[in-house]
Amino acid sequence: MAALLESLLQREVELNRALDWLRGRHECEENGQDLQVKKQEFVPFLLNFLRDQSSNSLTHGPATPAKTPSTSRPLRAQGTSSERRGNRSSTGQGSRSTSRIQLFSPAPSPTAQQHRGRRRMGPFGASAASRQTGARSGQMEEGCRWDGAGRKGRVAAKINEPVSPPTQVELNFNNLDDFPPVGAAHVSPIPAKPSRRINPTPVSTERPNSKPKSCFTSTPLSQPCSSSPSIPETFGPGPSAASPLCLQEERELLKKERSKLAQQTSSPAKPIPGVCTPTRPVRPGSKVTPDPQAPGPDPAKVTHAPELNLLAEIYCTCISENLVPCVFLEVFFVLQLLTTRSVAPSDTMEQDPPVDYLGNVHNCVYFAVQVLENQFTLLSHLDRCTLRLLAENERVGVFSPGLRDLLVQAQDSCTSKVYLHTFIHSVPFQPATDNRTNFSSDKAFHIFKKQRDIFYELLREWEDYHKEPGWEFEAALGNRVRAMVSQLTAAGNHCHFARLFQKQLVQMCKGPRVLGSPGDAPDADLLGMVGADSLGRLKRLQERLIQPQALSGPCPPPSFPGNQEFFRDFLQTASCCQLNQHLKDGLCQQLLQLNEVSILGPEAASDEGEEGVDGDMEQRRYSSVLVVAQVLAKFLGFISFLPYQTSEAPSREIQEAAVTLRSKSAPVLDVCAVLRSCIHRKRTVLTIPWLVEFLSMLDYTGPFLPSYRDAFGLLLQFYRFVMYKNSNMCVFVSILTVCLCFSVDQQLLYTCCPYLGEFRKLLAAFVSGSASKTGGLIRKITPTSAEPRGPPTTQQAFFHNQPPSLRRTVEFVAERIGSNCVKHIKATLVSELVRGGEKTLRDGLGSDCVNAAKLNDSICAQLCDAGMQALEKATRFCSENAPRAVRVLLPEETSQTVLTTAESITTRLATEKACSWLSSNITKSLNTEEANRTPLASDVIVEIKEVLSIAVGPRTEEEVFTVQQIFSLLDKVEQTLKSRKVQSIHTHFFPTLHILLSCSYKFIHVIMIYVLYTVLWSLCSSCLQ
């Protein structure tokens, strides 16, 4: 292998031939002299080679791209995985997590795999299905192993050697981490002479005689079955035999262990600086600390450019041909190379200094830029923000202005769609399911009413405080949650509450995470407010302020981000088996319903040629269904496996017993059946993403249960199939493939594959890092006022290309003409109008038979007519005067078309201004009239009370009423009672009057009694009619 690469680098083998070979065009030549190696061996070798080469340079960034097959990165990078780390070491294999050792599969058999945590699935399994299982799992340290044994069993059983009994599957196939990448199926351990320098020497395991290469070599699939169960051989004398040979590695291992311990004690939330995967032992004397004083990368200082070009080309071909296990990891690796910090020259003590192709920052950046250039098509699928960060990366600019320009262009054409999402909403009350008839008793109904309110109270409190330091769900809300849940039990309201809970979960978790961590999908509300450009800056600002470096790496573990946290904590705290059971029922039902939802697949859509509007609708539908299904599935998995979760991996015996026991009862979801059906019906694009969410919640033992084991097998098979089918395409892992084919919007992609955001974070971290070093490379972030921006109208577009003075003129003239118009109409029409209205009112009230309703109608009609007249008059005024004024004020050379357009805009603006004033003011005057005419009942009662209180005393000398005053009050009473507006009030007015009447026994009241009873009588009889 090394020889092949060597010969390529030495130009002994033609590059094109090698590339063709990689592309599979010269399969037949495999037997040729030069290329007596398998692609499947070569690719991992190459990837490892690149990691090794750059190991001294890559000293930055919390998340190093997993060295494809062997990385132990995330393990060390993530403090949170400490427990899992512990688990792993409990397997009793001498080897621990040096990167080297990880190259070998320590546990291809179930025995050895028992330490597998929940969420444990290989990145391949994961990438096959979608992100999360493996990719998020942080299991890369093992996950990336190219485990020959594992692969063999699996592949042999399922694909290549159907004769193999499925029982063999268990051996390796359970080791999901070991699922090999596409095309890696046939590997034979060829004892090619290893290149001394780059060969990993395991501290533990592996056959001693193949140690240098065993990292990637694996038991050939083509080998007889006998070797398949021979997993134990991996645990043979390897460690003891190997260890003496690799003191260097041992030292390295110790170092790693120490740093691991250090990290475990540090806060898990904090990024661990300077962690990387130096797969090559760091030689004594070599410096890995980034040197702040070191100069930036310089194209002129690049050494070995031809070799780097060659390497880049081979590497890119591997990526393009999808020979790498996970394209995503490679992109991350390249971005790390791009953003690597300067490292002081190392290897001074090297006895036999090998060619250090990626040993300095210049070469790293050069290589990275080469690859990025080559893989531009791939890059162009990234989101705008990432593209922008890339384009603005000064290194890209220095090394390849062409790439920078391409990136800038791509950024512009980036069609990231943002769908409006609603902010947190409650679950609407639905009489059909929520009213009294749905409850067993009044009490249950009443209790649920309270429970609903308590639930939201808890939710709001959580929203307010959960981010505050020291706040804990259990301490703050625990007792209230349990009290409420215990009431559920008392009232038998579990199914109601489970439904509410589930709906609220969907409500709050279906959109882009409202309360998610920064760097998540952009908040559409915010986007609408500040515009996309400012949003990018805002987000970056936020990122820098809140989480300047919180890179979780390309393979973050499954989590409950944003609002999901509330629901998880609630369930954990409530710890109510009835509630959980009802929830499981509900979640399962909704999931399977969603799974059946009609979403046209890409084929169907293109067949019918229904792109465009319908296609857009489909996408929306698809994305909303997908996101909901994923959340539901995650919670279904969470609840289902909650009883089995343990902090420590169970021992082998316990696990075996558990498997035996648990395989007797039916799993909550028949994953295999769902999977088969979705593949059969070509609905994997929807089903697999949510299934993966479900499976990511598995406990330690879960993956060993027959049903889930088979499901993983199916997933793997499917992944291979997809990759095979698309082997000539530029693709991400399958979910992305499917998504991209379906041209799903980017936001969804990033929501489904949050690890994609890590590119952006890495680049952003670089920006902030370089600023801190050089004292302000960062572009200043100018605060943007959050004024809502409307969509640009044609009017705005018109002004866009005109001199600013034109706009100012138009706006000024419109303002003045509008104002003059109002004054003109006020002076003429309105005063007439008011006078006329008042007269009508007086006349009407003065006449014998007062019909308030008719009077009102006639005045309204009058005002309406007049109002229409006024508007007409205003329009005329503006269209006469505005164009004249504009014409005079604009420069003479203004073209006729521009002039006409400006005139019409001015006229329209002036008319709008005038008319809006007129209509609001005419309405006002109308209201005033009305208010004058029919006093409010409450006012009348207040007045009556006033009169009465003076009547009953105590009163002063001045406090007296004339008979006129009393009669005028009685008039008001009458009017009020007759007003059609307040008829609904009568029911309350009557008793009031009744009280007044009943308690009045003075002379003055006698009159009132008389009048009021008369009025009441007439009213009552009219009401009765």
Partner: protein, 281 residues
């Protein structure tokens, strides 16, 4: 009318010394000429009620003493408003004092405690009180009290109804279709705001599904109570909504807009309907 917290405190402080008489409103109005009469009355009413709630127990302990004092005073000057004077002297709402004494009186006369209904009906119709003199004094109390008593209850009720009607009227004017409380109850809703809009609107950029009309001033305490007992419950069932405090509110309380509860002191003008676009264009 929105009033800031500090200003409200000033008003509340001033109110501490006032009695619920006809004259107090004039005094209040003269002192705070910038605020409308109805807002001031509403604030007075709120603050006075807080005061009464705080001190009622204390008065209940000395009812016997009040009763004896009333008896002797009424004997001395039967035509004077002695009960009202006593109420103002001990700083107890005249209506509440009247109620306590009628209760005490009936207890003495009948030897047993009277029911609430009997008491209520006697306060509403003092002529039912067996003692004509007491009846007259009680009437003076209930009629003069501007914060408590059957009349005030009626007025408050009427004001509430009127403002709901005004709200409905405004909605009809703008062609916004809605369901009112009665519709909702008929459908079996467990909590019912005054109005549920059939098609939500946006008010000042905030979505509104329901509207609650409050014909009172929104002070800290009453708003908190309303939030817990009504507004959040509405939000929990119908989503974001609008509360109109027709007599104003403490401006700082309008802090839940982003959370889905919007406060206004009048019917909003900035309304955007979903289907017709901006209604004021």
């Amino acid at each position: 009318m929105k009033i800031c917290r500090a200003e409200y405190k000033t008003i509340a402080k001033f109110i501490e010394q006032l009695r619920p008489t006809r004259q107090c409103m004039k005094i209040l109005k003269d002192r705070f000429p910038n605020h409308s009469q109805s807002t001031l009355l509403s604030i007075f009413s709120l603050e006075y009620q807080k005061r009464m709630k705080r001190t009622l127990v204390k008065h209940q302990d000395v009812v016997e003493d009040y009763f004896q004092r009333y008896r002797s005073e009424a004997k001395k000057r039967p035509s004077d408003p002695v009960l009202l004077e006593l109420a103002n002297e001990v700083d107890l709402s005249p209506s509440l004092l009247a109620r306590l004494l009628v209760e005490r009186f009936l207890e003495e006369q009948q030897g047993s405690v009277s029911s609430k209904q009997v008491l209520n009906s006697m306060l509403k119709e003092p002529s039912l009180i067996p003692d004509m003199q007491l009846a007259k004094h009680v009437e003076q109390c209930t009629i003069n009290d501007c914060c408590y008593g059957p009349l005030v209850d009626c007025i408050k009720h009427a004001i509430g109804q009127e403002h709901e009607e005004i709200l409905r009227e405004k909605l009809r004017e703008r062609n916004l279709s809605f369901l009112d409380e009665n519709h909702l109850r008929a459908k079996g809703y467990d909590k019912t705001p005054d109005i549920i809009l059939e098609v939500p609107i946006a008010v000042e950029g905030h979505i509104v599904h329901w509207i609650e009309s409050k014909a009172s001033f929104g002070d800290e305490q009453s708003h908190r109570t309303y939030l817990n007992e009504q507004f959040w419950s509405y939000w929990n069932r119908f989503g974001p909504g609008l509360v109109i405090y027709w007599y104003g509110f403490i401006s700082e309380l309008d802090c839940q807009r982003d959370r889905g509860i919007l406060l206004k002191d009048c019917f909003p003008t900035d309304i955007v309907t979903l289907c017709h676009g901006s209604s004021h264009c």
